[in-house]
Symmetry: C2
Subunit: 456 residues, 2 copies
């Protein structure tokens, strides 16, 4: 059967191209921009189009209201005794500044094998591949149940996703979760992230006067809050090397093993391409292994801004009245963001008692077991679909939904990415392509087959 | 004669009140805001009104054109053999945000002894007192010649004043210069600044990428220019104490002597009032002597801003592409701003080779001889006018015109201030008062008398 399944799948994927493009065109035509309140109605229309799609494939679908945007939940239960997979994607998109695009971002352009439009690769295209794959596995009567969770607030940090999960625990019960919302390290090689960095963001602020004062009149006696915050930031970390200087900051972290670093390197990562892709003029390190360790397996300290001074044209010789530093740390397993917050806050406040420190975002890091059955199954499926062994890497960013699903459902989460670095995640002229889309359909179908026979 | 002179002066001052108020009303009604190009025509009208005023008192007047605003130059030469005094004031004013004023800033309000309006104390009122004083000394046929220089770009840093002085050296020849554009330390006691701090402003900038990058994707490997500039600022100085850490920064400075510090303290300065006047919540020092040393006789290092990061609402977890720190140092005698610039630049660039450092403003410090004949004469005149011995203090800021006049005319400059801290220099509801104005008329007339008999 397995051979027939594979051959049939290849034919199915090829034949479904027109349907995939039609569905993608429908979804792309609705500007589901979650960051912009003006698009509330579009978000609703996008959710309703998704309901249609899922119903068209036989799912029972609910639009679940939240305090923010609705969440689309579809399920297809073939038999209560079968294993159940939960597939997460998101249908909201980044804003698109039309002036920077070569085409209308909300009008799908099919250019040969390329699909150009906002949301094609992040994350509407990947969402559709899972759905199309289910079309095939249902034809094959695979003994599996399916649940689809399509979020519409991922791009704004999933503010209501945890409430949704907590309120829908019964409906969400599944044996495993699959999330495709990540990017290969190189187009040459499939990549499966097995870890995500967490995030601990904070605002450090200090006010020492009511308003600007004249630096000739007060300078020398007046405190300078921008200067003091610059000093605090420098006490926290060495900006040149990136090393955090706060005692015990690294205590709980699990360093990447040599084998894991080998896996990162095997992803096809190139330092030069990384610099080019992100338009970085220079890096803290040139060594490929060290760069990968830094972006995948090391915590960071980042200053987003030190605001409060005069930034207009020319010189305004003032002592600024207040300053706020926006800072965040990417965390890795097993750093606890709350413990880190207390550590950083105490470090600062002991030295600078009138400085205020408040947390502005908290996401724990995530690290999957690197030898789990589900990871093995998705690796097999990816190799089947793309004809190359996938690299086990880690995502340097954070995906709130993964953390939440892992926390509440307490089942393995796998993250087979389908996007390529050149697809332009969040960038103008975002695109997807049929090679990745058809590979995605095959990957999901193969993975579903693996799941149907998996004996955990 | 001296007694008759003094008695006549008291009567003259009293009788001239109406004329003073009329002249002040005329000048205040013209919004000579040099910072705002929309007021070019008002600047011209202000200059022409000043010409009228000077001509009315018998001066020969020229409007001297510069690459910017014109300068009003009036002279009254009684006899080539007499000594000549050059009186500098400025007739341009700070902008006035009408919403913050209780009255129309450009419509003089006489409220008892108070004169409310933009420019009343800075510097139109003081300019008029000198002129009115000349009215008296001319009546007395004092053997003295007078030159008046009224600038219309002081509030924007006197960008064309040096060109004017260089181009008018013959006309400006004088035996001494008097500049009244400073503020008493306390209303209780006249103050004569004998020093000005200089200024060395610079911009420190660093670009490490083309645009914002996602701190999840690049963080750890990407350089953070805001973080690096914060570190550079902290390497340059300790923001908590204010101490500059750059080697040799203090080498050339002349520290204030104990006697000079005693003079500062004798000004009536109060730490609590200083905090209140400038709305400062806390200071680097609470000790009156130390605070005065810090604002009058010590160089400073000030960060005006570290720009370049994301300062909008909420969290945007980016690595910023570039940063610029606006920094300036107040300098004291005998620090050479050019030498200091080279020192700071080398200190930074040796450690951070791709950081750019450029000078944005340079003003040398100024320190008068503290036992000169002219200082003695103005002290006598101030004590005569205000019935109290003046304190010899220093101005923490810089007055470009003083530096320029001292440099090119090579004669003593005295700086008898007439403004009070509560007059609200540069602030809404700026005002002057008849006590200071009539005192100013007496002070100038007495000083002119001293000059007429001075044998240098």
């Amino acid at each position: 059967m397995s051979n027939a399944y594979s051959e049939g799948l290849a034919v199915y994927a090829q034949n479904s191209r027109q349907a995939f493009e039609n569905h993608l065109r429908t979804l792309i035509s609705i500007p589901t921009i979650s960051a912009d309140p003006h698009h509330k109605a579009d978000i609703r229309r996008g959710a309703e189009a998704a309901v249609q799609l899922l119903q068209g494939l036989g799912c029972a679908v609910r639009l679940v209201e939240t305090a923010g945007n609705p969440i689309v939940f579809g399920e297809l239960i073939n038999d209560a005794s079968y294993p159940t997979v939960l597939v997460y994607n998101h249908l909201d998109v980044q804003p698109a500044e039309v002036a920077n695009w070569k085409t209308n971002p909300f009008d799908l352009v099919v250019d040969g094998d390329h699909y150009i439009g906002r949301g094609t690769t992040d994350d509407k295209g990947p969402a559709l591949t899972a759905l199309m794959a289910m079309g095939y596995t249902q034809q094959c009567a695979l003994p599996l149940n399916y649940k689809f969770v399509w979020e519409l607030e991922e791009e704004i940090g999933s503010p209501h996703f945890e409430d949704f999960v907590k309120g829908s625990l019964q409906q969400l019960v599944a044996d495993s979760v699959v999330v495709s919302d990540t990017i290969w390290v190189s187009a040459d090689k499939p990549a499966i992230p097995v870890g995500l960095r967490g995030l601990m963001a904070l605002e450090i602020s200090l006010r020492t006067s009511e308003a600007d004062t004249h630096s000739g009149l007060t300078g020398g006696a007046a405190r300078n809050p921008v200067g003091e915050l610059a000093q605090i930031v420098s006490e926290c970390y060495d900006a040149v090397s990136g090393r955090v200087k706060i005692p015990h900051f690294y205590d709980d972290m699990v360093p990447a093993t040599d084998q894991q670093l080998n896996d990162f390197v095997a992803s096809g990562f190139s330092v030069e391409r990384f610099k080019r892709d992100h338009a970085l003029y220079s890096l803290r390190s040139q060594n490929v292994r060290d760069v990968l360790r830094r972006i995948m397996a090391q915590p960071t300290f980042e200053v987003h801004s030190i605001g409060g001074g005069y930034v207009g044209p020319g010189l305004k010789a003032i002592v600024p009245p207040q300053a706020t530093a926006k800072v965040s740390m990417r965390l890795v397993a097993n750093q606890d963001p709350h413990r880190i917050f207390e550590l950083v806050k105490r470090f600062i406040v002991v030295r600078h008692p009138d400085v205020r420190v408040r947390a502005s975002a908290v996401l724990p890091p995530y690290l999957a077991e690197s030898d789990g059955l589900y990871l093995k199954a998705i690796s097999t499926a990816m190799e089947f679909a793309f004809d190359r062994k996938p690299a086990l890497v880690r995502e340097g960013g954070s995906i709130g939904a993964v953390i939440t699903l892992a926390k509440y459902l307490k089942v393995p989460v796998v993250m087979p990415g389908l996007s390529l670095p050149e697809h332009g995640y969040h960038a103008p002229n975002e695109h997807f392509d049929w090679h990745q889309a058809s590979g995605g359909i095959k990957m999901y179908a193969k993975y579903f087959q693996e799941l149907a026979t998996l004996k955990p």
